[in-house]
Amino acid sequence: MTTEITLVDRIICAAALAWKDDGEVLATGIGVVPRLAASLCMKSINTDLMMTDSESWMVSEPVPLTNSCASSNIPREGWMGFTRIFDNVWSTKRHAMVGPTQIDKFGQANISMIGSDYNKPKVQMLGARGFPGNSISHANSFFVPKHSKNVFVEKEEVDMVASIGYNASRLPRGHKVDDVDVRMVFTNLGVFDWKGANHGLRLLALHPGVTVQDVIDNTGFAVEIPANVPVTADPTPEQIAILNALDPKGFRAFALG
């Protein structure tokens, strides 16, 4: 019996490896794919990870994605209200996976606003939220459902630099780009990190059927392409079973838009 492997499951399983070597840190996945990736990692890859219920409790087990009200079933192991979230963020013991609207060649990311006039945005988005503090404090990875030049911008920098990247010209006295930890990027085309020359974006793996040219054509800046680029691994039946339990309603089927 074979069932077709979906792209989103492939991306989640690849992204779950982002926290593999992090040890005992808080894994935060914002959005369906990052949250399921963090949950899968905690369940099967790095069982020392810590997690919240996305509201105010530390949980011993990832909470499945449902719309239910079963708060009595949350496997709590401590309280983690918003003031304490910042204690954790600033302690550096966290690795978040987030979905920026724009990413530039420095690994700087934007969720705040789009446009060239800050005082009158073309599109007001969320605001910088916790991006500035997160990015200077702990590791951050990105999930991009639609890899395109709209996200990986051609312009020198994103419209509003909400999270710090590897841009030495922006650093005040005493701070080094090596202190910055922009970790991995997972998109509908492949897997990347920022360990190219001068902390540039580097291709690590392509999903089946995706070519290097697809990546080059859809990225607004240079991507380092190694001589041999593997195909992302197939999810195992065990991983699919865990994902089905974490996402019983199948929300992830709609996560790539």
């Binding site: 003031t83 969320l126 503090g133 200077i136 005493g174």
Partner: protein, 291 residues
């Protein structure tokens, strides 16, 4: 003995043009919306608003009450972009001081502790430093690095919503998260707290009740009993967020506009408002959704 019970009108009478007001809650969660509606019905203008923003900020912008917003986000969670804040920003009609979510906590603490600023590394390398003149780089007496000074966010008035309070200003929040309400209250010259119910002081004698009191009563200027006073935001564990109401509110920006929403849901008493949304029974029946 002090009796701090007052009406929403009494609270708004103490808010003057040009004041800086902090609003408790977080996005669509435990916002003092009945107090905000009273403010929307007033003539007060030119406010500087400090908030982890939701429809509170959006409505005040829509009603033209706002000069400046100090914010890290303005969002309704499941409706990520607050429609009226967005419209205000995109028309260039408001000034902003954009900061990190953590900056706001530091700024409130600095105000509460009587400090001019608290140093941090938040904002380094980002455009917060470019666009927000309130954030400044400072030298450290202890190392050779530059740090970001987050200035004190001194509030003239804080508005927050609690589960219950007594007449002396002992306030209780039983929900899963206090958000930054404690610091909004501590950072303010005057703090006004709407609450689901007024209780006798003896209610707090039990340990589990006293543990859910987060600031001393001397910090509370006034308490206003308003059942359902956080709607359409949530007040867990009393009631969940009314996403249906927020969807209609968000749709109103393109269908009828602020004037229609104002006539439907703001230009009325709290009793009439509760009737329009189906009463406390409907409120208590809202799903207590997990995230």
């Amino acid at each position: 003995m002090a009796n701090k019970v007052m009406s929403a009108k009494d609270v708004v009478a103490q808010i003057k043009d040009g004041m800086t007001i902090g609003i408790g809650g977080w996005g669509p969660r435990r916002k003092p919306m009945a107090l905000i509606r009273e403010l929307l019905r007033s003539d007060v203008k030119d406010l500087t608003v400090v908030a982890y923003g939701g429809a509170d900020v959006g409505m005040l912008c829509a009603a033209g009450k706002v000069k400046k917003v100090v914010f890290a986000f303005v969002s309704l969670d499941n409706i990520p972009l607050e429609p009226y804040f967005r419209a205000a920003r995109q028309s260039g009609s408001i000034a902003v001081s954009e900061i990190d979510e953590g900056h706001m906590l530091l700024g409130l603490r600095a105000a509460a502790w009587g400090l001019p600023f608290i140093p941090s590394q938040i904002g380094i390398g980002t455009d917060l430093m470019k666009y927000n003149a309130d954030l400044k780089l400072v030298d450290s007496p202890f190392d050779d690095k530059q740090w970001v000074a987050m200035p004190a966010l001194k509030l003239d008035v804080a508005l927050v919503h609690a589960d219950r309070a007594d007449s002396r200003g002992i306030c209780q929040v039983k929900g899963p998260d206090l958000y930054m309400d404690e610091w909004m209250v501590r950072a303010a010259t005057k703090a006004f707290v709407s609450c689901e119910e007024i209780v006798d002081t003896s209610f707090f004698h039990a340990e589990q009740e006293a543990r859910a009191v987060y600031w001393e009563r001397c910090m509370t200027t006034g308490v206003v009993p308003i059942a359902g006073g956080a709607h359409p935001s949530s007040c867990m564990p009393e009631y969940g967020v009314d996403m249906g109401h927020f969807k209609a509110y968000a749709a109103s920006v393109k269908d009828g506009g602020w004037e229609k929403y104002f006539q439907d849901f703001v230009a009325c008493s709290q009793d009439e408002y509760l009737q329009k949304i189906g009463g406390m029974d409907a409120l208590k029946a809202l799903p207590k959704k997990s995230y």
